[in-house]
Amino acid sequence: MTRNLVVAGFGGQGVMLLGQILALAATEKQLNATWLPSYGPEQRGGTANCTVVISDEEIGSPVVDKPMYTIIMNNPSMEKFEKMVEPNGTVILNSTLITMEPKRTDVNYLKVPANELAEQAGSQRSANMVMLGVIGWLWKDIFTLEELEQAMVEKVGDKRPQLVETNKKAIELGYEFAKNII
């Protein structure tokens, strides 16, 4: 089993955190995990992204140019990453913010109103956690919802404990959303 994922969006949308939580959850499960951030010039133009690889084998390249999964949070990232996705791969896009029409016919699109669901959970800033919930449903063969929530608490609990409840709710809303449309 090897899964890889690129998460892309504006700086500040928590795309790095989302990737780290997944890598952390994998580490806790004794799986191998790599998390690779974009840094330097790649961050210009409003996009930040990270690549996560999770495997029960030794991980080869942490660099992935044809991801199996992508979570895309805004238009500029859509421009850049939609074309990279592996054929038959999955594009999870934030339909609240992405106005661009999907261009490909050989990948699966999952439109998630991430900001709206996050708003319901208590804060638009938890849109990344909605997406974590979505990936949680898609990767339910690897993680339980509780395992992802626990990794989230570990990652943000100390610094921003006030976000924990909102985040949990957002993860659950994302999970339910994915469950209902797939």
């Binding site: 780290q20 580490t27 995990a33």
Partner: protein, 351 residues
């Protein structure tokens, strides 16, 4: 058994050094190595160590020189332009036979270059870099776990041969996070103080120790240099490290190290599963270069593919060691701006 944790490469460098017994770190900020200094500034006071932010790379490297000449595990970390400045201390330390650990998070050059992952310090690290006939011992790990595994070996090797050691990584290894474990914790009090350490005569039998790279008598300097060469030959015999993944005597032999080797692994495994006659030879020490082992693996190879994040530096050592003009040598490089992608390498390897 230690627990597995998710850790950033640069922080793992620091933690590994602490666990290897290093309590003295001297640094100067530079991207993409600054997080190593930041981690040590936070971590060393917790274990009774000292972090100093030096006024320059010149000062930082010479502080390492002083502390190591005093017999202690000491280190600094920097990135290519900073390492250029440290060549002064490195040459002196090699000449005066002072150990010490230097981490180079290699970035694009020449000059200020950029901050992206690169391997274009190969020449400066493996061929001497500074003035004089000397070599640094250079490890080039390809995963964060390998950085961790190498760290205690790096310090031990430095002290065993009384020679500076470099661990060459890059911004990619430094910035990424990976599930790792630290299978050791060395108590620095249990690391014996060498008898050559500058520590006050009372610590070593009341006979004075002098540490110098100066010898104005030309015949004596020549003798010293031949003795150093003998040491380097011994290191070349005993210390080369490499990894090989592939079929026994491949038709296509890929040579790559560090991040490039890791990115290659994905395509390699795919092609091996298809039954292709291919193998990846990965030097773990780039000096001493594992040339003999490489030559053996290359015996049946028709095609030798060298991949580097430079314009072609290690390829010189590859050709020198394979030493066969009838083979087809192929170089592909990314000189410090972008990184190889798995698909790109797959395309290259499929020819």
């Amino acid at each position: 058994m230690s627990e597995r944790i998710l850790m950033k490469g640069n922080e793992a460098v620091g933690e590994a050094a602490v666990r290897a017994g290093c309590r003295l770190y001297f640094g100067y900020p530079i991207t993409p190595a600054s997080e190593i200094a930041e981690y040590m500034a936070y971590r060393l006071p917790q274990v009774g160590g000292t972090f100093i932010q030096a006024e320059s790379e010149l000062a930082a490297s010479n502080m390492v020189y002083g502390a190591a000449a005093a017999g202690k595990y000491a280190m600094t970390a920097s990135s290519s332009p900073g390492i250029s400045l440290m060549q002064e201390a490195l040459s002196y330390m090699a000449g005066a036979e002072v150990p010490g650990l230097f981490v180079d998070a290699v970035r694009g050059g020449p000059g200020l270059g950029d901050i992206q992952a690169a391997q274009s310090d190969y020449f400066q690290l493996t061929k001497g870099g500074g003035h004089g006939d000397y070599h640094l011992i250079v490890f080039a790990p390809y995963t964060i776990q390998e950085v961790i595994n190498i760290m205690p070996i790096a310090f031990e090797t430095a002290f065993k041969y009384r020679n500076p050691v470099v661990i060459a990584i890059d911004g990619l290894i430094g910035q990424m996070m990976e599930a790792v474990e630290f299978p050791y914790f060395v108590n620095p009090d249990e690391v014996p103080l060498p008898n050559w350490a500058l520590s006050g005569k009372f610590r070593h039998g009341y006979k004075k120790n002098v540490n110098t790279s100066l010898e104005l008598d030309p015949e004596k300097l020549e003798a010293i240099n031949w003795r150093l060469q003998a040491k380097y030959h011994e290191i070349e015999e005993k210390e080369p490290r490499y990894d090989y993944v592939g079929v026994e005597a491949p038709e296509t032999l890929v040579v790559a190290y560090g991040t490039v080797a890791r990115v290659t692994m994905s395509a390699l495994k795919k092609m091996l599963a298809e039954g292709k006659s291919i193998g990846l030879f990965r030097p773990i020490t780039i000096w001493p270069f594992p040339g003999k082992a490489l030559a053996q693996k290359a015996v049946n190879a028709k095609r030798i593919v060298v991949l580097e994040m430079s314009a072609g530096q290690m390829i010189e050592d590859v050709k020198l060691n394979v030493f066969d003009p009838n083979k087809e040598y192929e170089f592909h490089g990314h000189p410090g701006g972008t990184t190889f992608t798995p698909s790109e390498i797959e395309q290259i390897l499929r020819g």
